[in-house]
């Protein structure tokens, strides 16, 4: 093994690739721009939208209640809702977002309240529509308060304690550290992006260094040099791996910085209202662990992409081979986000899915060392096998000179 020759090939490919706009975009620009855009941009956008929805005074309609003037008057006095005149087409108006919600007060509501009889107040809303939800919530809060007040008055009149209707309270408290809470929510997303970008980072250089060389006619030039074909392909492979790892590192770093900055920025916007989804903290230990666990996967991707595109005659043909691979590789990464998919010894052998699952665990601070070792080992085996195939293919004349 002549390391000098591999180094010369690698150095040339690195210089060459860094001058290729497509490689630079996929390796550097995408991770550096995509992450802040996704986290800060999308986060800020959604928070602003929620904020706007919350600030809007919902228009609501009161149906019926002619015999309950007290309740109607109280509703009309509410500062944060705008009561509009009743209309039989209320359902349509809600659907058309002309009003946010409507409340139907049953006949003899106040009389029944006084008599201690039960009745049902109906609130109509547009399910899943944020602003309608806020309007309905406001109405519900009003009637809940009215119910509590009525209960209190009834109890007081009979000189009974409040604990009669509320013998105990229930309080739900989170004991998991904040990183685990955040991890459970966003933990699956982080490895998904890292794995996806690891693949896309390697894609262009892999195609450029093989099918691209065939297309541009430089493959025969390089084959004239006295360097062995194994050294050539290893030099090329190292370049593809560099692109893959650089993309992954830039992604993780950019993600950590974006989350940090995003938390400050966004929480400032919503006046310190702690949003659970933003409670994510990626520790240094987790970042390093993810790097090492993703490394064999990056080798596997780089070698597989190199082998696949080596087989292609042109850049275009290589793209048509690689596009399906994207889906094959991304599906297991997506599967890891699904709730209930847990790491097991069997899943530790499934490429991509294993790395995705273990990264998710690492982010939540869980380290199952025996499974981590198994995943590292199995991923390494796949990586070495893919690299061996790439090296073997590079020796074959029918692949190099495929017409």
């Amino acid at each position: 093994m002549n390391l000098r020759n591999i180094g010369i090939v690698y150095h040339k490919e690195l210089v060459d690739s860094l001058r290729d706009r497509r490689t630079v975009i996929s390796m550097i620009v995408v991770p550096l721009l995509l992450m802040p855009l996704l986290t800060i941009g999308m986060g800020a956008l959604s928070l602003t939208l929620v904020d706007q929805a919350r600030k809007e005074t919902p228009r609501v309609m009161i149906l019926g209640g002619a015999d309950s003037p007290g309740v109607i008057a109280e509703l009309q006095q509410l500062k944060d809702v705008e009561v509009v005149p009743a209309n039989p087409d209320f359902a349509e108006e809600i659907s058309n977002k002309e009003i946010r919600a409507a409340v139907e007060i049953p006949k003899g509501f106040e009389a029944k309240l006084a008599a201690g009889e039960t009745s049902t107040v109906k609130i109509y809303m547009y399910e899943g529509e944020l602003k309608s939800g806020f309007g309905a919530d406001r109405l519900q809060r009003f009637f809940r308060e009215l119910r509590d007040r009525t209960i209190r008055e009834h109890l007081e009149a009979r000189q009974l304690p409040l604990s009669l209707v509320r013998p105990f309270d229930i309080e739900q408290k989170n004991v998991a550290p904040p990183e685990k809470v955040g991890g459970a929510i966003l933990g699956g997303l982080v490895p998904y992006f890292v794995i996806l970008l690891c693949l896309t980072g390697a894609m262009y250089p892999a195609m450029d260094l093989t099918a691209g060389e065939k297309e541009r006619g430089t493959i025969e030039t390089i084959l004239c040099s006295p360097v062995s074909r194994t050294h050539l392909v290893l030099g090329k492979f190292l370049m593809v791996l560099t692109a893959s790892i650089a993309t992954a590192i830039l992604t993780i770093t950019s993600m950590a910085v974006s989350f940090g900055a995003g938390k400050k920025l966004l929480l400032g916007v919503t006046q310190g209202e702690a949003d659970a989804a933003l409670q994510i903290t990626i520790t240094g230990k987790a970042m390093i662990s993810i790097f090492f666990i993703v490394l064999p996967l990056a080798v596997f991707f780089s070698a597989s992409l190199l082998a696949l595109s080596l087989f292609a005659k042109s850049f275009k043909e290589a793209q048509s081979y690689i596009s399906p691979l994207m889906i094959v590789a991304v599906l297991p990464a997506v599967a890891a986000i699904l709730p209930g998919v847990e790491l097991s010894p069997a899943l530790a052998l499934v490429p991509v899915l294993n790395t995705s699952l273990v990264s998710k665990e690492i982010i939540t601070g869980t380290y199952q060392w025996n499974l981590i070792a198994l995943i590292f080992l199995s991923s390494s085996v796949y990586a070495v096998a893919a690299l061996a195939i790439a090296v073997k293919l590079f020796q074959r004349e029918d692949v190099l000179f495929r017409t």
Binding site: N5, R216, G217, T218, T221, S225, P226
Partner: protein, 243 residues
Amino acid sequence: MIEAHHLVKRFRDRKRGTVRAVNGVSFCCRPGEIYGLLGANGAGKTTTLRMLATILAPSEGTATVAGYDVVKDPQTVRSRVGFLSTATALYGRLSAQEMVEYFGRLHGLDESTLRRRIDDIFTRLEMNDFRDRRCDKLSTGMKQKVSIARTLVHDPSVMIFDEPTVGLDVMAARTIVGFIRECRDHGKTVVFSTHVMSEVEKLCDHIGIIHDGKLLAEGTLPDLRARYGIQDLETLFVRVVEP
């Protein structure tokens, strides 16, 4: 020195089955000589030369190039050979100098020798003006010069040219022809393939007419003319391949 012994190259073709692209070609070319392989498209010229340059391995037979066997010692053969063809393109994103440097390093030259060689070649071929320009920004003639510099950087004793003038304009083709002649004058062993009769007449000491993978006739130009009693090379060629 090049000695080819019964070189055979078989390819598997999906439609035609096994094809013998080269079928038992033997010839010899000495230092200070130019050997021209003359043949139509698909005659087996490129495959023969690729085997001599060890880009392809022979299916049968062998050849010694600069004293080394192409089958047993392909890497050493490549370090003694300069190979140029229209298919050997340049790396567009490297500058002219980087391109030549890259190949110099791959040939194991140390940095001081490399620097000296590059200065010498770039001055000789008048390439200093576009030394730092990227190869994809060069004119065809400039590109040809960079390719020549690339084949010369390790000072090979054997030069192999595969249809080096195809697709070139008159000026660029002249540069190549002049360069081939210069190689012979420097005592190098030169093999080149072409289907341009005038190039053969201008350059070759020995000619081999190749057709359907077989070497059908061989000798100096006066020899062949005397043997077939035909002065015009084109007529002679047609006579050999279509008896």
